[in-house]
């Protein structure tokens, strides 16, 4: 399916990048009706990032195909979180550029960019108040009122009774689902997930995994998911990336990555023999 969208994107690359997903622009060309859907392919071009003189990412070049789940694995301190923060411009690269569907992220209004690229963190970081207030936060910032909170709750697998609950009364798993619903309320086209299940129990982890998988299937979101858990990467990833000491070691289809790794470091990582980077 993604290949079809890919070619559409190439044909209609002139279409305004900011057109919302779900708007589905219909263009009538004599007798043929063509539907344009956004692909959100994310490309890193020779990207490096340094902080306080230390090089965290070194010359990363990679293309994340749109509408797929890409899992990022690697030891602690490998630069995984840094890599995804570059996409929604929580930080900017020291060198190189990041393109979304061929457009440099630096040319897009940063607030607009972050609304289009949702991010979920390891901790839910919910604000004090009710679930409803949390979900309304993003839309409220852009002046949207009376959004359909129940709809976003239902996507996150929570029933409408949750809306009025105080976030303090929720379990860790429920909080993380509210955090995902809050991110989805901005109607993002891409999701960046920084170990969203690492603090959750196995049942909650499974619920979140299914939820994210459904988002990809039904809404064609591009998802970049950092995980420490190799089994999780195998379960959910279409593609897997290995980072080590700030370098991209291997990027392949998840099945190939785990069954036929091309790099010696990948082999060591899969065997659990790759040491963690000492910060």
């Amino acid at each position: 399916m993604s290949n079809k969208y890919q070619s559409w994107k190439e044909i209609f690359s002139f279409v305004d990048f900011r057109t919302k997903k779900g708007y589905n622009l219909n263009i009538n060309v004599t007798v043929v009706t063509i539907e344009v859907i956004y692909v959100n392919e994310i490309e890193f071009k020779e990207v490096s990032y340094s902080s306080f003189g230390k090089e965290i990412l070194k010359n990363i070049s990679v293309k994340f195909e749109g509408g797929a789940i890409h899992t990022i694995v690697g030891p602690s301190g490998a630069g995984k979180s840094t890599l995804i923060k570059l996409i929604n411009r929580l930080i900017d690269p020291t060198h190189g550029s990041i393109l979304i569907d061929g457009v440099d992220v630096k040319t897009i209004d940063v607030i607009d960019l972050r609304r289009r690229i949702g991010m979920v963190f390891q901790q839910p970081h919910l604000f004090e108040g009710t679930v409803k207030e949390n979900i309304e936060y993003g839309p409220m910032l852009k002046g949207e009122k009376n959004i359909n909170v129940e709809y976003y709750l239902s996507i996150a697998g929570l029933n409408s009774e949750y809306a009025t609950r105080d976030v303090k009364s929720l379990s860790g798993g429920e909080q993380q689902r509210v955090s995902i619903a809050r991110t989805l309320a901005n109607n993002p086209e891409t999701l960046l997930l920084d170990e969203p299940t690492s603090a959750l129990d196995p049942t909650s982890t499974e619920i979140v995994e299914k939820l994210i998988f459904n988002l990809k299937e039904k809404m064609n979101l591009t998802i970049i998911w950092i995980t420490h858990n190799m089994e999780q990467a195998k379960r959910i990833g279409d593609y897997t990336v290995l980072l080590n000491k700030g370098q991209l070691i291997e990027y392949a289809k998840t099945y190939d990555f785990f069954t036929n790794p091309q790099n010696e470091i990948t082999k060591l990582f899969i065997q659990g023999k790759l040491k963690e980077e000492v910060k």
Binding site: N88, V110, G118, M119
Partner: protein, 251 residues
Amino acid sequence: MSVLSLTLASSLVLISIFVSYYQKLGIEKEIVIGTIRAVVQLTIVGYILHYIFAANSALFTLAMVTLMIVVAGNNASKRGKGIPNVFYFITFSIALSAAITISLLILFGNIHFRPQEVIPVSGMIVGNSMVASGLAVSRLKDEIKNKSEEIEAYLSLGATSRQAAQKVIKTAIKTGMIPTVYSMKTLGIVQLPGMMTGLILGGVDPIDAVKYQIMVAFMLASTVAISCFSVTFLTYREFFTSNHQLKEVGN
């Protein structure tokens, strides 16, 4: 008070030196240096004030107040070490709180623009402003450092720097203001404030002294609010880039 009785009173310092020596606190040297500095500084200030009061010059009065503000700004900015321009932000905030509060006191007829009144009142304002803005800046720095991921969670939902920092700004302002608000609650019960004590010792009727002290309490409430508000809103921007990114700030 005669010079002889003041000299005899200096023996009180020996008690603190003895305690330090006996308990091996190792601060005898600090006590001696502190005592000498206090005596020298106060003596110099006494002579300067004596001269300024006699000259009754607006220029000298303003120069003295400016000096107080700059010294206070320099002192308080140590609490925001590592934050760019923090000295200017704190000094400006102290100056702003002093300017507004003193202007209002003169306008309301509480004090007159005379060195004898403006300088001591400014001293109290600047001193409290210094402590409050130092506390606010230090708390702001700690909060941003400790809550960086939470701030980034707000930013990634499309919040501006200002919106993302709203919670830490509130905490910082509150931290700066709380000591003054709490001390107002116990004023006159737990502590007889310096100004009132001084007036009573100087022979002023306690009822009149109390009037001045009430004015001081009102004045300090406004002072710390203005300085904390100003310094926090000026400083938080230093933690963000123009693209609403949280900067990495070293220690």
